[in-house]
Structure formats: structure tokens, C-alpha cells
């Protein structure tokens, strides 16, 4: 790993986003280390998705600092440039290219030159095929490789999207509700997969499903009204009085 300028991979400080006076993020501060997995929880409207939008360049914050690897100012870059830096994102509803085969979905995500001329003239080397084969194996879609992604089940699409994230070889993965709509077994398998990924990469998981978060066994940050309410182990956070208050309503 290259020596970072600051020890943290992702550093958010005092980030504020307001839409027509409504503060989706309110002086949010957060730091994620290299090869750290963090679970983000919080009630609806707590600002979880807006936070991801800020990190990936979809939304510009009104105030605050967002640094990646200590030197890249994320607020000045657009989605494409941020993806090129090594931040990958999985959406809440699985977003795959439905008309493409499973294999082509991974091919498009593979870390490669992204320019129009490069893709127009590209020839697929055997090394790429090996990468794709390995990814298919990892997300258990080898049998479905030639099927259209649109024909996959919901859970398989979630996994394909995670596979696409891995194909990008990002340094940081943002994963929005990976367990939504999954069976219990699929949920447990997904937790295993994410833990495995987190061995070499930083991962931020946004999740509502508390069993799933417990399965992950990582540090938890609870957001509320756009700022951090509590941070720590799941047990510590769920024992926090304010968290209980927020979740149960006042």
C-alpha cells in the first residue's frame, strides 16, 4: 500500500448539504481507514444516501471538506473522476445493465482504459477473461454468465453489482443496502462476502437490517438528521439512549 499523506482513506469534515433550507447533512464528520469496514445505520432521512452522493460526486456540499487519500478534494470532482480515483458505489436498488450478459456487465466494469477510442479498438486479452472467470466464481454467477442480467433474480443482481464493484478494483466501496430483498441465507452469504472483501479494501455499508449489521461485526456509525449521533460497536450504539429514542420515536 502506498504511504498516504494522512492516515485516513476518506475524511469528511463539517459537511453540510441543504436542499431548499432542509439540511440533509448537517456538519457531518467521518473518517474511514484503509481496509476498514464501517456500517452506517440511521432512520429514514438521516442523510445516509446524501452522504454517499457527496462522496461519489453526485451532490455538491454547501460547506465542508471531503478528502480522499488525504489529497484529493472530492467536492471539486465529478462522478467519473471520482470513480477513476478508486471509489466504487453500489446502489440501493440493484442497478446492472439489464440488456447485457452477466459477463459483459463485468467486462464493462473491469479496470481498463475508459476512453471512447480505447474501447472502440480494444481486443480482449486472455488475462481479462481470467479476471472475469475469477469474479464470476466469487459472486457465484458462473452458470449464469451468458444470461442477460435482466433475467437474474433480485439477489443475483445484488451480487452481480458487487462483482462489478470488485472488477473496478476500487480502494473504497460504498454499498447501499446490500441485503434488501434477500432471503436469510442470501443475507448471511452477503455478509461473508463483504467481510472477505474488507480484508483488502475499505468498505462502507449502509444498512437497515440489524441482524445483517451484527453479522458484519464491525464499527457502526449511527446518523440522525444529517450528523453523527453515535459511533462504536453495535452493542454500544444500540445501548445509547439517544439512538433508542431516535429509532423508537419521541
Amino acid at each position: 500500500m502506498t504511504a498516504p499523506i494522512t492516515p485516513t482513506l476518506l475524511y469528511l469534515d463539517n459537511v453540510t448539504v441543504s436542499f431548499d433550507g432542509f439540511r440533509a447533512l448537517n456538519a457531518l464528520s467521518l473518517a474511514i481507514d484503509h481496509a476498514e469496514m464501517r456500517a452506517i445505520i440511521g432512520p429514514n432521512g438521516a442523510g445516509k444516501t446524501t452522504m454517499m452522493d457527496v462522496i461519489t460526486g453526485k451532490t455538491q456540499p454547501n460547506e465542508g471538506t471531503a478528502l480522499f487519500e488525504g489529497s484529493h478534494d472530492l467536492t471539486a470532482l465529478d462522478e467519473t473522476a471520482i470513480a477513476e480515483l478508486g471509489i466504487g458505489r453500489k446502489f440501493q436498488t440493484p442497478t446492472v445493465f439489464e440488456m447485457h450478459t452477466v459477463e459483459d456487465n463485468l467486462l464493462l466494469a473491469l479496470k481498463n482504459k475508459r476512453g471512447p477510442l480505447a474501447t472502440l479498438l480494444s481486443r480482449r486479452p486472455a488475462r481479462e477473461q481470467e479476471r472475469i472467470d475469477a469474479l464470476l466464481e466469487r459472486v457465484r454467477l458462473t452458470v449464469q454468465r451468458h444470461r442477460r442480467a435482466g433475467e437474474l433474480s433480485h439477489g443475483q443482481k445484488q451480487w452481480l453489482e458487487i462483482g462489478m464493484l470488485l472488477a473496478q478494483e476500487p480502494k473504497l466501496l460504498l454499498i447501499d443496502e446490500p441485503a434488501a430483498g434477500m432471503t436469510d441465507q442470501e443475507t448471511a452469504d452477503t455478509a461473508d462476502l463483504l467481510r472477505d472483501i474488507a480484508r483488502s479494501k475499505a468498505v462502507i455499508v449502509v444498512e437497515h437490517d440489524m441482524t445483517f449489521v451484527r453479522d458484519l461485526g464491525v464499527k457502526v456509525t449511527c446518523l440522525h438528521e444529517g450528523s453523527v449521533l453515535a459511533e462504536g460497536s453495535l452493542d454500544a450504539v444500540s445501548a445509547n439512549e439517544r439512538v433508542v429514542e431516535v429509532y423508537l420515536g419521541r
Partner: protein, 378 residues
């Protein structure tokens, strides 16, 4: 894999049919005796040539609409610009044979009392220069227009509307005499192309064959583009644009590249169209023309390339027949056709045929092998 082989079969069929047309039309026109059932009369050759040019225009629209989701309702403008570039060459070929016998100035300039050739007419007496302009003028306009539109992320219906505005604005501009391009009469009265008389049967046959070759070349180019990884990115943009951005692709560069290429194809189609119909005037910029092209593509089958060709040929043949037999009803028929196709054949004729083919071949496979072929249970 399966789709790949289907494309190969489709390419073979398209190219064979085009080759057959390039051989049969000249043979039936030149060799079969007039009066025999096989004879193709002289006036039908440029008509068929016109259809072929429209097919190339439809192909260019399908490339951006079918594969990248860019619905241009102004592609007629690029077609017309290519046509004007060719028309300017043909005007310069008239020389002193015009009504006013001016060796340099086209008739309409003499009529307007102009004393010298405007600067932008320079070079058009030389075909290679005109041919270059056929590509460059539509290409440059598309590049500049697309650069602003795609960079500002203008998409969907908003993009369609501004392309309509673009072609409408160009139409108004070309109507003006000051434009130096013949005003509302446009450019016409052509005499020769490369020294061959434009009206002669042999020239028309040559132009027809050239148009077919251009269509075949355009088809192969598009097939190559959509078959590459670039083409896969285009489809990705069409189906999930923001996902493609988050994967690290510069979507606006892809759109700009394919939009410019498509405009150049449309320009070539226009350039081949003009010598065959003998005139180019501002009505080619009419917004309705561009909308009609979209209907051809929708009827034939969007996103298939071959469907665009099929749709253009069928609808235009229908138009020729209708406007002769039941002229008042043509627009109703066209509108009805569009509604019918949208409601009952959303993937066009070719899409519907493909579905039918796949269903019957699946049935056949199921009958041959008793065990399920795919993971149907999942």
C-alpha cells in the same frame, strides 16, 4: 454467444440482399427489354436510389437512438447539409450553361445581382473537397451542438426538442436569399457530375449502385461499432446512464463521438440523395422530415440496424404508393402506423420477427431434449 451468431447471420442476409439489389436493378433496367415483366423503367431507378439514401439516414438515427438512447428529432438537418455540400459542387459544374451564361456565378446569384462568388463557395468546384465537406459540415455542427448539449447533461425529451429547434432554425436560415445558397428555391438545374450528365440512365444506375455500396459500408461500420466494447458502453449509457458514470466512463464523450459519427453518415446519405432527385432546398430541413425518419426506425425495429433499413424501405415504398393512390390519406396512414407499431410491436417488425423465431426454436429444442436446457427453475 447466441446473440453474436445471430448478428453474423443478420449481417450476411443484409449484405446479400444489398448485393442482389446492386446487380439486379442495373440488369433489369439495362438488359431486360422494355415491355417485359422483368423490366425496370428508367424513372424507378432514382426512386429506388432515393429509398436507399433514406435507409442510410435511418441507419444513422438507429445508431444513436437504438444503441445509445439519443433521440434526435433533427437528423434531417445533417442529411440536408450533406445534400447542400453536394448541391454546391453540382452548381459549380453547370458553368456557363446556366440561363444567364455566367461562367462562374450560379444563376440565382446573377439574379440577385451579385458580382462575385461568396468565400464559402470556394473549392466546391472540386469533388474531393465537396466530399470532404459532406462529412465535415454535418460532423462539425453535430460536434459543437453535442458538446454543449451533452456536457450540460441535456437528455431525453429536452434533447429531442432542441434538435427540432436546431433543424427549424437552419430551415429559416436557408430560406433567406442572403445565405447565398439559393434561398427558398435551393440548388437545382444540375447538369453534370464528374463530367457525366446527371439525367442520363447510366449515371443514375451508377449513383444507385454507389448508394447501395454506401449503405452496405455504413451498415458494416455501424455493426463494427456496436459490436465493440465501445458499443457495449453505448448500450450501458442507454439503459443506465448514471451507473455508467459511476463506473468511471465519461458518458458525454461517448455520446459526442457516436452523435458526430451518426451526423456524418446522415451527411453522406444526403450527398447521394441530391444528384438522384436533382434538387436540394430548405424544405429538407423541415422538422417533420426528421420525425418521419424516427418512425421508419421504430417501424423496422429500433436497435437492430437491419430494422432501420427495412423500415425506411417499407415506409417509403408505402408513401410512394399512397401519395399516388390516396394522397389525402397518407399522413393518417403514417400516424396510424406509428401508433400501431408503438402499441402492438414495440420492438418493430424485426423485433417481433425475432421473438417469433426464438419462441419457435425454443419449442423445437424442448421437443428434441426432454430435460430442461436452461436453469428455468431459477
Amino acid at each position: 454467444m447466441r446473440t453474436q451468431s445471430l448478428f453474423d447471420r443478420q449481417t450476411t442476409v443484409v449484405l446479400s440482399l444489398l448485393a442482389a439489389a446492386a446487380i439486379l436493378v442495373p440488369a433489369m433496367n439495362g438488359l431486360a427489354l422494355p415491355g417485359s415483366a422483368l423490366h425496370l423503367s428508367d424513372h424507378l431507378v432514382p426512386l429506388l436510389g432515393k429509398y436507399v439514401c433514406f435507409a442510410l439516414l435511418a441507419l444513422s438515427v438507429d445508431l444513436i437512438w437504438g444503441f445509445c438512447g439519443i433521440l434526435s428529432l433533427g437528423h434531417g438537418a445533417f442529411f440536408a447539409l450533406g445534400g447542400y455540400a453536394m448541391g454546391m459542387y453540382l452548381m459549380r459544374q453547370i458553368g456557363a450553361r446556366g440561363v444567364y451564361s455566367d461562367p462562374v456565378l450560379p444563376d440565382f446569384m446573377v439574379f440577385l445581382n451579385w458580382k462575385e462568388l461568396p468565400w464559402f463557395w470556394y473549392g466546391f468546384d472540386w469533388l474531393p473537397f465537396a466530399a470532404l465537406m459532406v462529412l465535415l459540415v454535418p460532423g462539425t455542427l453535430a460536434f459543437v451542438f453535442g458538446w454543449f448539449a451533452f456536457r450540460s447533461r441535456v437528455t431525453g425529451v429536452y434533447f429531442s426538442i432542441i434538435t427540432q429547434a436546431m433543424t427549424f432554425a437552419l430551415m429559416l436560415a436557408f430560406f433567406r436569399n442572403d445565405m447565398g445558397l439559393g434561398g427558398n428555391n435551393g440548388l437545382t438545374d444540375f447538369k453534370e457530375i464528374l463530367g457525366f450528365p446527371v439525367q442520363a440512365g447510366s449515371t443514375r444506375i451508377a449513383l444507385f449502385v454507389l448508394s447501395v455500396l454506401a449503405l452496405a459500408g455504413g451498415y458494416l461500420l455501424c455493426r463494427w461499432v456496436v459490436g465493440s466494447t465501445f458499443g457495449k458502453v453505448l448500450v450501458a449509457v442507454r439503459d443506465a446512464e448514471s451507473r455508467t458514470r459511476f463506473l468511471g466512463y465519461r458518458v458525454e464523450h461517448y455520446k459526442l463521438a457516436v452523435f458526430t459519427l451518426s451526423a456524418m453518415l446522415a451527411g453522406v446519405a444526403g450527398a447521394l440523395y441530391v444528384p438522384q432527385v436533382g434538387i436540394i432546398n430548405p424544405s429538407e430541413f423541415a422538422p417533420a422530415n426528421s420525425i418521419e425518419v424516427v418512425i421508419w426506425v421504430a417501424v423496422g425495429g429500433r436497435g437492430t440496424l437491419a430494422g432501420a433499413i427495412l423500415g425506411a424501405l417499407l415506409v417509403n415504398a408505402g408513401k410512394t404508393w399512397f401519395t399516388a393512390a390516396l394522397p389525402e390519406f397518407w399522413l393518417f396512414a403514417l400516424g396510424g402506423l406509428f401508433v400501431f407499431v408503438t402499441l402492438f410491436m414495440p420492438r418493430g417488425i424485426l423485433g417481433a420477427a425475432n421473438d417469433l423465431w426464438e419462441r419457435s426454436s425454443q419449442k423445437l429444442r424442448a421437443r428434441r431434449s426432454p430435460q430442461p436446457v436452461t436453469q428455468a427453475a431459477e
